[in-house]
Each structure stands twice: as structure tokens, then as C-alpha cells.
């Protein structure tokens, strides 16, 4: 079975004024399907950039990123923006640190959103069930502004899991939460994705969360990594 993520000699740089900053320099790694990977490193080391490149939100400068999702091989590095968008929509769940929810959609609508984007109404009831399992059954029709930070992140995780996408990318999903909530949300994410056989890549500063993952990729400085 091929790896779900195959990254080879990935390079990505940004222009900061007149200076070009090499964020990712010849990065290579594979991740097997159903496994989880924690990406850690200091601020500016390229954690978010790596996730964005994997999702095809930003294009890489060179190297290759190949994702094997639902039996299809996606060459992200050479795909058009339209192809990358379609890939993301069907196969990737995403969780951010802040502002994970659309403020003008209710909790239930937020969770149903990826399904609706894919034209699927059959998951409407599943969304209700998932939210119930996540302890948010009473708050289906409220807007996110009335939820606590922990509740908001649980909704975000529920949304990422609804379609059961083969790959979930989480960019510091607990960075905005206290220790208790942080562990609760992380547990939900890892446990549910593991149960469903989904792969997870988590960018985090938290040692505890990193320890919960199957693999640990540490970005030390631009272009330097440590694999564990």
C-alpha cells in the first residue's frame, strides 16, 4: 500500500521585503495511510507552510508532493489550482488554531458545510450524531460566538471528521486552548481519526500532543529537520 503522503526535496521560500527566506529546503518524508504525524518546531520554522503546501493551498517552489487519497494519486506540486481545490474539498479535513468556524453559520451548519460543498445531504443526520457524541447536541442551532474556545475547536474537529477524509491537517488546533481543553480536543482528533483509519498531520508546539502522534517531524530551522 503506497504512502498517503510522499514528499521529496520540497522547497518553499517567501519574499520578505527584498530578502528571500527559504522556509522549507529539500524536505523529504513519507507517511503511511492511517498514521499520524506531529510537526513541531519554533515559530517561523515552516510548520504552517508545510501544511498549506500539503493541502495545495500554496504551491511549492520545487520538489514533489504526492498524495494518495481514496485510491487516487494527486501530484499536488504540478496540479492546477482548480485540481488542488477539488482534491482538498473531497479528501482533506482542515482544522485551524483560530477562527475555525464561519460566524454566520450555526454549529450544525458549520459541521455540515464540507458535506454540502460536496453536494451531499445524506450526512445531515450524521452531523447531528457526531455533534451529539462530541457533547454539543444541545447547541446545534446556536451561532459560534456563544461557544467557548474548547467547544469551537470540538465543532471544528467534528467538521473535519464528518466526510471521513483520508487526510486531516490540523494547524495548531489546540494552541488557543487551556491545557485541559487542549488535551480533550487532541484526544478527540486522534482517537476519532484512528478509529476511522484516517491519517492526521498536526502542526503543534505541544510536546504532549506530539507524543500522541505515531511520528514526529521536527523542523529545526529553515531546511533542517529531525525525524523521530
Amino acid at each position: 500500500m503506497p504512502a498517503i503522503i510522499q514528499v521529496t526535496n520540497l522547497c518553499k521560500s517567501y519574499l520578505d521585503g527584498d530578502n528571500r527566506v527559504e522556509v522549507l529546503d529539500r524536505l523529504s518524508f513519507d507517511l503511511d495511510a492511517g498514521c499520524s504525524l506531529a510537526v513541531t518546531g519554533p515559530s517561523g520554522s515552516g510548520k504552517s507552510t508545510l501544511l498549506n503546501v500539503l493541502a495545495g493551498i500554496v504551491a511549492c517552489d520545487s520538489g514533489s508532493v504526492v498524495l494518495n487519497l481514496n485510491g487516487q494519486c494527486h501530484e499536488v506540486h504540478s496540479a492546477t489550482q482548480k485540481q488542488r481545490t477539488a482534491m482538498r474539498r473531497k479528501n482533506i479535513g482542515y482544522v485551524y488554531q483560530f477562527f475555525n468556524l464561519v460566524p454566520t453559520l450555526t454549529v450544525l451548519e458549520n459541521v455540515r458545510l464540507p458535506a454540502r460543498l460536496n453536494g451531499r445531504r445524506d450526512l445531515d443526520d450524521v452531523a447531528v450524531d457526531v455533534l451529539g457524541e462530541f457533547g454539543l447536541g444541545e447547541r446545534l442551532h446556536v451561532f459560534p460566538e456563544v461557544l467557548s474556545g474548547g467547544e469551537q475547536q470540538r465543532v471544528a474537529v467534528a467538521r473535519a471528521l464528518l466526510l471521513k477524509p483520508p487526510l486531516i491537517l490540523a494547524d495548531e488546533p489546540t494552541g488557543n486552548l487551556d491545557a485541559g481543553n487542549s488535551l480533550k480536543v487532541a484526544e478527540l482528533l486522534f482517537e476519532r481519526s484512528q478509529r476511522a483509519g484516517l491519517s492526521v498531520v498536526v502542526a503543534t508546539h505541544s510536546e504532549a500532543i506530539a507524543a500522541r502522534a505515531d511520528y514526529h517531524l521536527q523542523l529545526l530551522a529553515p531546511g533542517r529537520i529531525s525525524l523521530a
Binding site: 498549506n52 493541502a55 493551498i57 500554496v58 482548480k82 481545490t85 477539488a86 482534491m87 482538498r88 474539498r89 473531497k90 482533506i92 482542515y94 485551524y96 483560530f98 477562527f99 475555525n100 468556524l101 464561519v102 460566524p103 454566520t104 453559520l105 450555526t106 451548519e109 455540515r112 458545510l113 464540507p114 454540502r116 460543498l117 442551532h141 446556536v142 451561532f143 491537517l169
Partner: protein, 777 residues
């Protein structure tokens, strides 16, 4: 340092800076162009009143007025000069102002007392002011010659059928006895005259909107008292039109204020974190506000300069559109410059201060409910109280506008509270909710758009209703095919010839003359008003002897109504009906030919013909009577409607400007909204949002914003239309317009308003500033 930082900020936000600049500049353009055109038109209107009569504020008249009446009144005035009643009377003078026919030409004869100092000075001013005068005569009096440097005691001929003469000469020309007068002119001191002149400069035509000062002397009770405006309705008519246009010109500036407030809110959203830190570092809020408002003021100055230049060109363009065969030269006065710069600065500074106070969280609108109730009552008074004049009507419109603007935010809050039940596709649902989600960011821009659409609806309703009534009036009046005017002898010959022509089905003759009735100069039109002729004026049966039909303006000026008696030349008539006479500048009375009007053939002033072959008959008659003016009614109708449409070109352009400014306001507001939305947008990109879906969301956002504005604008615009038709028009012009709620009056403003809002939603030029969808990640 702070100033430098603000300058850099403006440079880094070029699009919103440019939008703010453009919006305010358009507002100034609107004001400047209206002022320039109004000044030009006002100058022409002033020429409608002969200079000899222009200085009087009131005119006293009664039947059989003679010089002895004048001397008696003058004596009372001189004896009681210290009396409170007479204290404000500065001058009394005998006057003659009549129309007669001399050598077949209708001539207006004005007789003045040349030995009155006031008259002489006015005469001198008139002579200086009016070019084209041919001063002929002999020096009759050394004193007068010294005073005026003009020949007196002679006929002073003017062009355009106006003849100014000494009273004695005028009486001689008119065939009157040596005692008879038309009226006594009165000059009453008006302590607010300076203020009114300034008001006239600020809002051209405003003097027509202000209540006229009443003459409050007991002796005047024996007389019919007419104001200058009543005496010269044409001038008043024109000034009322100017006031309408000026009020509309202010609309764009008001909408620009909404825009600049929106821009200030948007900028402060970005600057506030910096300001907060600067405050922590020890800089007073007041200083920061000063710098911010100063930057807004700088923007206002630049916008004013652009607006002044653009206003000049727009004035030229509008003038060419309205009066295509004339060229106008517009002079920049300091009033124009002051208005342009002042309004731009006021808009920018007030908008900046309010936005800053809002950002600081200072109270701005406490007691809003009480204020609304008070404002509603005030607007009601303006509508109901007729004496409040045009100003009352426009004040009611302005108050209703502000009330609607105040209601936008609560409406958005109300809609937001019910947003969870909205259904539809998720992305569209999201966008629709977004339009009501941030009341503080969007309310002002929506209010601006609401106001622009409502005004367009109101004006549209008024213009369309007016056009409908006008067209109906023309349809009724045009029961004939040809109308002939000219020398009465030739007209008599024409009548005799056409009566025997088989192709001519009907010949209708009219005899017109001016008479003074209750002090008002009215046109009495005598004819044979059979069923067909009466029907032209909406009267259902032939006009019998002793009956009179009165134009709406005539009824207003003469203060008569249906069923009341009216004496014309010692003959009592019963008013049996009123008729619409849009565009008439002089009141008209229709009387049956047998009474009240000259019956001789020599009095015919026009002839109407009904024929199946209008072209052929017209050509044939024109060959026989080359000096007569023969016109086809169909062409007259066409020309009248074209002129009608041309008249409203200015209003259409001004509304369009206001809509553009409102559209820019919405764009700026949506830019702010996109700043709020950037995190959600980042999320949506991660979820795989397509470009087309993104565009659909933008469309929905703009459309919902437009819809909210439209929902408010429809009742508000209908209210405006009603006030314009039923309150302002009767007060300004003396006629009533039946308000017709035709869908066409709504469709165009709603379409343009919707397009403005949707375009504002779709335009994404500002990606660099707002952090466009893809750029945010």
C-alpha cells in the same frame, strides 16, 4: 511622526483613499454644478421682473384704485412713522402695470412716479442692469436729470413688449383717466434680508421655500395685499424649480457623508491597534483624533478641488442638455468655492470625528427613540402646516431620510436575530447572513444606498405621475389639429375663409386679455365653451353664461373654490370648476364668450381648427397668411413632452451621481466586511471553495445588502413621492399631481440600486488592501 505614519497609511491604502476622494469629489461636483446652473437661471429669472418693480416687497390693490387712495395712505404713513405698524414700511409709491394692445402688438405698460427718489434710483439701476434699452425722450426736469442722468417724463422704450413710462404717460397710453392706478407699491424692511440672501447662495431657490413676510398694517385691510412672488408667479415658479434641484443636489453630498463615515470606520479598524499602542505610550486620544481628522480634512480639500473642476464641466454638460440652443458662461464666485470646500471639509471632518468617537466607544446616539418620535412630529408639522411652505415639505423629506437612516442598524440587528431560520444553499445563506451580521460596519453604507434609491423612487413617482397628468392634460387639450396666432385682423380673415372650407370640421376662436382681479393679474380667455370645448378642461358640460372655470394656480392666488362667486369687470360669475394648467405662469379664467370678454371680432387672439388634413390646410393657410403663426397640435404636444423630459435631465443626473456615491459607500463597507471575513475565507479555501462559488457568495452579499436597502427604500421612496406630489408641488407651483404608483417608477431605481450593491459586492479590485480570498492564506 504620527502625521508621517498616517500619510504612509493613506499611501498604502490607495484604493480606499481613492474611493473616498472620488465619493466626496462627486458630492462636491453635484453641489457646484447645481449652484452654477442655478446662478445662471436665477439671473434669467430676475430679468422676468422689470427692474422698476423688483424692489417692492408688497403690492396693494382694490377695485377702482385711484391716486387719492395712495395719497391718503401715504399721509397716514408719514404721520404714523413712529407707529409700530408702519415702522418697517420704507417706501410707498403709486404704480401702473397693465397689458394693452398697441398697433396689434401686446405691450405691457409700466407706469411709475419718476419723482419718487426710490423710483429714480430703481430706474437708474434698471437702466444700468438691462442692456438693450433705448432711452429716448427729452429732458423735462433738471432735478430729475440730475438725479438720474436719464431722460424722464417720456416713454422709455424697452424690448420684449415692455414699455416703461411716467404714470401720466402710461395712463394716457392705456386710455385711463388721470387718477387711476394699478396698485400701490410697498417696500417693507426685512431684517432677515441678509440672511435670506446668504441662504439663497447656499441653497439656490431657497427664498421661494421660506415663508414670506406678511404686511401687518391695519390700513392694508381695505386692500388686496400681494407679495412680489404672487405678483410675478413666473419668477417664483422658476425659483421653486431651483429649490427642488438644489435640494436634490445636496443629496449626493449627504450620501457622500455616509461614504466618508464608512471610509473612516474602515480605516480606523486597521489603525486602531496602532492608536491603542500609541495611547499606551502616552499620546492623548485627543491628539490622535486630531491627526486622524486632519488626514480626513486633507482628503476633503483635495476632493473639493477635484469636485470644483468637475462641477464646472458637469454644469456645462447639463446646461447643454437642458437648453441645447444656448450657450452659458458660468462664473466662479467665492460662494461656489466656499460651498465646495466647506461642504467637503464638513463632510470629512464630521465623518472623521464621529467614526473616531465610535471607535473609542463613546456614546453617539442616546435617546434615539425619543429623537425619532420628535423628528416624526416635526416632519408631520412640515407636511400639515401649509404656511411652512416648500421648506416645510423638504424638511419633512430630510427628517424622514434621517429617520430611515437611524432605522437601518436596528433593522439589521432584528434580521440578525432571526438569521438562524434562513434557508437555502449554505454558501448563499452564509453570505446573506453576513450582510446583516455587522450592523456597525454596514448600517451607514446601507443608509446611504437606501436614501439614494428612495430619492430616485420618490422623484420617479413624482415625475411619472406628473408626466401622466401632463400628458392627459395635453390629450384633452389637443382636440384640434391646428392652432393659429397673430394679428387679430388677419385671424378674422382666416376664420371667415376656413368656415367655408369643407376640410375644416370645426373653427374655435379665443379672445384673451389680462385683467386684474383681487390684485392678481390673470388671463381671461373668452370662447364658446360647448361640450367639446369644456371637455378639454375636464368640465363635463357646456359652460353657461355667468359661469367661470379657474385654473388651479388662479384658484390658489384668488383664494376661490368651486361654488364661490368671482367678480370680473363688475360682472359676478360662479366658479363651477377648476382645471389643471401645468406650466402656466399666469392664472387663467375661462368664461363664455357672451359675457365678461370683448365680443368684437377684433379681440380674437387665437384660432383652433379641427381638420382631417392638417398638413394640407396648414400649408394652404400659411401661403395665404404668411404673417400668422400656424402650428400643428401634434407637434406642440411632442415638443411639450420633449421639453418636459429635458427639464428632468438634471434630476436624473443628480440621482445617478448619488447612486454612484452610494455604490462606492457600499463597496467601502464591503471592503471592511472582507477584513472581518478574512479568517473565514481562509477556512473556506482550506475546505476547497471554488472561484465560482466565491463569486456567487460575493454576489449574494451585495444582493442582500441591496435588498435590505430596497426594502427600506420602497416605503420611504413612496413617502417621498407623496410629499413631492401632494405637499411640495401644490405649495411650489399651485398645482396638484395625482400620485400614481406605477411599477415603472420603482423598477428603474431598484434596478440601479441593486446593480450598485451587487457591483460593490463583485468588484474585488481591492484584494491588495483587503487581503483577497487567495491572498489571505
Amino acid at each position: 511622526m504620527i502625521a508621517l505614519a498616517l500619510w504612509r497609511f493613506l499611501k498604502r491604502t490607495p484604493l480606499s483613499t481613492a474611493m473616498a476622494l472620488l465619493g466626496v469629489a462627486l458630492g462636491v461636483t453635484s453641489i457646484v454644478s447645481v449652484h452654477l446652473i442655478s446662478a445662471n437661471v436665477a439671473e434669467r429669472l430676475d430679468q422676468l421682473i422689470p427692474g422698476e418693480l423688483n424692489g417692492y416687497t408688497h403690492f396693494l390693490h382694490r377695485d377702482g384704485l385711484i391716486a387719492a387712495d395712495y395719497f391718503e395712505l401715504r399721509q397716514r404713513w408719514l404721520q404714523a412713522a413712529a407707529d409700530e405698524q408702519w415702522r418697517d414700511v420704507e417706501q410707498l409709491a403709486p404704480l401702473i402695470d397693465e397689458t394693452t394692445t398697441i398697433q396689434g402688438q401686446v405691450v405691457r405698460v409700466i407706469g411709475i412716479d419718476l419723482f419718487s427718489t426710490g423710483q429714480l434710483s430703481q430706474l437708474a439701476r434698471a437702466g444700468d442692469a438691462q442692456s438693450g434699452w433705448d432711452w429716448r425722450g427729452v429732458w423735462a426736469d433738471e432735478l430729475a436729470a440730475e438725479l438720474t442722468q436719464r431722460p424722464v417724463n417720456s416713454v422709455l422704450e424697452g424690448d420684449s413688449g415692455l414699455l416703461v413710462a411716467d404714470i401720466g404717460v402710461a395712463q394716457e397710453i392705456l386710455g385711463w383717466d388721470a387718477q387711476r392706478l394699478s396698485y400701490i407699491g410697498v417696500v417693507v424692511r426685512d431684517s432677515a434680508a441678509g440672511l435670506k440672501r446668504s441662504a439663497e447662495q447656499l441653497v439656490p431657490g431657497m427664498s421661494a421655500g421660506l415663508p414670506q413676510r406678511q404686511l401687518e398694517i391695519a390700513a392694508a385691510e381695505q386692500y388686496a395685499v400681494l407679495s412680489l412672488a404672487q405678483q410675478h408667479p413666473a419668477s417664483q415658479f422658476g425659483k421653486s424649480v431651483l429649490f427642488n434641484i438644489s435640494a436634490l443636489g445636496l443629496l449626493a453630498m449627504l450620501v457622500a457623508w455616509f461614504l466618508i463615515y464608512q471610509v473612516a470606520v474602515s480605516w480606523l479598524r486597521r489603525l486602531w491597534p496602532v492608536f491603542s499602542r500609541l495611547h499606551v505610550l502616552g499620546i492623548e486620544w485627543r491628539s490622535l483624533q486630531l491627526y486622524f481628522v486632519g488626514a480626513m480634512g486633507l482628503l476633503g480639500c483635495v476632493a473639493a478641488l477635484v469636485g470644483l473642476a468637475a462641477g464646472y464641466f458637469l454644469a456645462q454638460l447639463l446646461f447643454d442638455l437642458n437648453v441645447p440652443h444656448e450657450t452659458a458662461t458660468f462664473a466662479f464666485s467665492w460662494w461656489v468655492a466656499a460651498k465646495g470646500v466647506g461642504s467637503a471639509l464638513a463632510v470629512c471632518l464630521i465623518g472623521g470625528v464621529w467614526a473616531f468617537r465610535r471607535a473609542q466607544g463613546l456614546p453617539q446616539g442616546e435617546g434615539r427613540f425619543g429623537l425619532l418620535i420628535g423628528a416624526a412630529l416635526f416632519a408631520g408639522v412640515g407636511v400639515v402646516w401649509t404656511s411652512s411652505g416648500l421648506l416645510g415639505g423638504f424638511a419633512a423629506i430630510a427628517i424622514c431620510s434621517f429617520m430611515a437612516a437611524f432605522m437601518v442598524s436596528p433593522l439589521l440587528v432584528y434580521l440578525r436575530a432571526r438569521a438562524s431560520v434562513w434557508r437555502g444553499a449554505y454558501l448563499l445563506r452564509w453570505s446573506a447572513r453576513e450582510a446583516v451580521w455587522y450592523p456597525q460596519d454596514l448600517a451607514v453604507a446601507i443608509a446611504g444606498l437606501t436614501l439614494a434609491i428612495a430619492t430616485a423612487i420618490g422623484m420617479g413617482l413624482m415625475v411619472d405621475s406628473f408626466r401622466e397628468d401632463f400628458s392627459r392634460m395635453l390629450e384633452r387639450r389637443i382636440s384640434y389639429d391646428l392652432v393659429v396666432t397673430g394679428d387679430h385682423q388677419e385671424l378674422n380673415q382666416l376664420v371667415r375663409q376656413t368656415l367655408v372650407l369643407q376640410a375644416v370640421k370645426r373653427v374655435q376662436t379665443y379672445a384673451e386679455r389680462d385683467v386684474r382681479l383681487r390684485g392678481v393679474r390673470v388671463k381671461v380667455v373668452a370662447s364658446h365653451y360647448d361640450a367639446l370645448e369644456s371637455a378639454r378642461y375636464g368640465f363635463p358640460r357646456p359652460l353657461e353664461a355667468g359661469e367661470v372655470l379657474v385654473s388651479e394656480q388662479g384658484a390658489k392666488l384668488l383664494k376661490v373654490n368651486v361654488g364661490e362667486p368671482l367678480t370680473i369687470d363688475q360682472t359676478e360669475f360662479a366658479v363651477v370648476g377648476l382645471f389643471a394648467s401645468f406650466g402656466d405662469v399666469q392664472p387663467r379664467l375661462l368664461v363664455p364668450r357672451s359675457v365678461g370678454a370683448p365680443e368684437t371680432e377684433g379681440s380674437i387672439t387665437s384660432v383652433s381648427l379641427k381638420t382631417a388634413e392638417p398638413l394640407k390646410i396648414a400649408n394652404s393657410l400659411q401661403q395665404t397668411f404668411p404673417d400668422l403663426k400656424i402650428e400643428r397640435y401634434a407637434e406642440i404636444r411632442q415638443t411639450a413632452l420633449e421639453t418636459f423630459d429635458q427639464t428632468f435631465v438634471i434630476t436624473r443626473v443628480l440621482i445617478l451621481i448619488a447612486l454612484i456615491v452610494a455604490g462606492i459607500g457600499i463597496y467601502v463597507a464591503l471592503t471592511t466586511l472582507r477584513l472581518n471575513r478574512s479568517s473565514s475565507t481562509r477556512l473556506m479555501v482550506a475546505l476547497g471553495l471554488r472561484r465560482t462559488e466565491e463569486t456567487g457568495m460575493d454576489f449574494m452579499l451585495g444582493a442582500t445588502v441591496g435588498l435590505v436597502a430596497i426594502v427600506l427604500a420602497i416605503p420611504l421612496g413612496t413617502l417621498f413621492g407623496w410629499i413631492l406630489c401632494s405637499v411640495i408641488n401644490p405649495r411650489a407651483f399651485g398645482w396638484t399631481i395625482e400620485l400614481q404608483l406605477a411599477w415603472q417608477s420603482y423598477s428603474e431605481p431598484l434596478l440601479w440600486g441593486g446593480i450598485a450593491a451587487v457591483s460593490a459586492g463583485l468588484v474585488r479590485v481591492g484584494r491588495t488592501e483587503t487581503g483577497g480570498l487567495r491572498a489571505v492564506v
